[in-house]
Subunit: 350 residues, 2 copies
């Protein structure tokens, strides 16, 4: 019993949020002399740990640096996703973080942890998927490294830029009275994950268009690069990309901003493909499915109305920021609160 | 038998060098429009895949981006290295790449692949090791991400800068007639790895100073930041950091530069700690041990003589660049060729 008491805390006994908080504290303590101060080269670190990406002011505009990783059997299964889509997605999730900072991607480095029995042709196809994404959404791969690993993983880091010093999008500037809005439709990615796990018999209820739509939402997400820049130039006050789920990511934004968020379930944009495929669970997928890689942002009503005119992707107002201890409340059409995951959305390591 | 013939090539059937070549080809084909041309923000990609780091010209100086990864049981064993040293080394190997490009580190992002049973306190100590390195050699950690993984890994990406557009250090500019030189002593890191694998009885031959010296060389390598900048400002024509081994890394430099290299075994700087601990294998460790993280560079004799005055770390001329099909020849004191690893130094995935 004594041994149990003195056992040090393990990663699987703590939430991801608390773990990040602990690491961030150690890092931030070391940065008091640096943050917000210009160095001799004219660089000023503006946002460090705790946002979609780190951001610094360079002599001619903001720069961001972000990283994200996909581990086999944790974040993807090779037969389901396929090599080209894996390349696309591994880079797209990084570009989505760049988008959420209102920047465009510039240079990426790719780290591969490779087990020996992976096919070389598959890996080349994976790079082709990354390059296709770069061709469509900007940036280029400039290097990386490969290491031997018993588990296959793809870790990418991306440098992005804005062309001006104005309007960075961060998580900590949402204010009470502002609206909460999202780009695109929510929940399809979770639906796409679910269908790839279904039996052929279960899948048979889906027509090809529905299957393809949900599959693409999960496996080839679109980074909202142009949209992020347009939002920032037209009055968005804060933004985060939806990777862990709508309520989770809104909670992170609320904690960073010291505010609370109310969202209305009947205003959440969910398309008919998802509703028809999952008539009972589409709302759950939309609220906490994750990996949508749409932008969740805040701003005044008139600013959001203007954005709607400027952006091709639909924008939906889904709620508003209110004063209070950081929290997220989801209300149904009768203004009754819908219970959301009590784990507060944080992805536990348990 | 037929199944065997049509089996696609696997990662473990190809050398690391060939694998990187294949990936680089795909990437470079996509970059013809970008490389060496200034974009609308004033960025010009100068060095992409195939050097210690990618480098681009920004409006006020060169920037580099590099990444390196350490995987548990492939690159480190936790009981041997300890948490703080792991943090130090995981970042130091990246800073060494920045040094080999004659830049200084600016911002780093840290990706952790975590298995659930890792101790939280250990991970915090690991960050403290990284921060200690930053305090001594520059740069700061600005973010990252943590993912669940069955195998523990630490992947870091670093942005670095030079304060001028002059004198970048790359791998492709060595010329026949130039000398080959290294900073510091070579081989101790391999010795340090070997002693941690020895039995207590084997270890007992070593005094504490010898053990500590070799252990540090392997577990807390020093990135040669100031040295890299000084070399570049004083006439070094090319450089690479020694990570895979002296002959391996020289071979890479020779291939990039289209030249050949002769080195003299009796001019390779090996200290007495290593010689006394490994009287029979110190030369092998020095030639192909790797992980020294010293700088291997080329330049005219008079430039190297000047550098010796300016740099605290000893500099040793170990050979010269000659014309010819890229190759590395090691000559003993009787000018007889010493056979080096026929795998050409490349770390196979087999």
């Amino acid at each position: 019993m004594l041994a149990r008491i003195i056992q040090p805390m393990q990663v699987n006994e703590i939430s991801e949020f608390d773990l990040i908080e602990k690491f961030s504290y150690v890092i931030q303590c070391s940065q008091a002399q640096i943050l917000g101060k210009k160095d001799e080269l004219g660089f000023k670190l503006k946002i460090s740990v705790g946002d979609d990406a780190a951001m610094w002011e360079a002599p001619k505009g903001n720069r961001v640096l972000t990283t994200d990783t996909m581990v086999e059997k944790v974040h993807f299964e090779l037969p389901q996703i396929g090599w080209k889509n894996l390349g696309w997605k591994a880079l797209a999730v990084n570009l989505s973080d760049v988008a959420a900072m209102a920047c465009k991607p510039l240079y990426s480095v790719v780290t591969l942890g490779l087990r020996g029995n992976l096919p070389v042709d598959g890996l080349i196809e994976m790079y082709e998927g990354m390059i296709e994404l770069c061709t469509k959404y900007g940036g280029t791969i400039v290097g990386g490294n490969i290491v031997r690993s018993p588990v296959f993983f793809v870790s990418i880091a991306v440098v992005g830029t804005s062309s001006s010093l104005n309007h960075p999008l961060n998580r900590h500037s949402a204010k009470p009275g502002e609206k909460i809005a999202v780009t695109g439709n929510i929940g399809c990615s979770a639906g796409g994950l679910r269908i790839t796990q279904e039996t052929p018999q279960e899948k048979s209820r889906l027509d090809k268009d529905t299957f393809d739509h949900l599959y693409s939402a999960h496996n080839t997400p679109i980074p909202r690069i142009i949209e992020g820049i347009t939002l920032s130039e037209n009055g968005a006050t804060s933004a985060i990309d939806i990777s862990d789920g709508l309520t989770d990511d809104l909670m992170k934004l609320c904690i960073s901003s010291g505010v609370s968020g109310n969202i209305y379930s009947n205003q959440i944009p969910v398309d008919d493909f998802l509703k028809s495929a999952f008539p009972d669970s589409w709302l759950h997928f939309a609220l906490s499915g994750g990996e949508d890689y749409e932008l969740l942002f805040t701003g005044p009503t008139e600013a959001i109305e203007k954005m709607e005119q400027l952006i091709d992707v639909p924008i939906s107002v889904i709620g508003e920021i209110v004063e209070g201890i950081p929290n997220v409340t989801v209300l149904d059409s009768n203004s009754k609160s819908i219970p959301i995951d009590t784990k507060g959305g944080w992805d536990h390591f348990k």
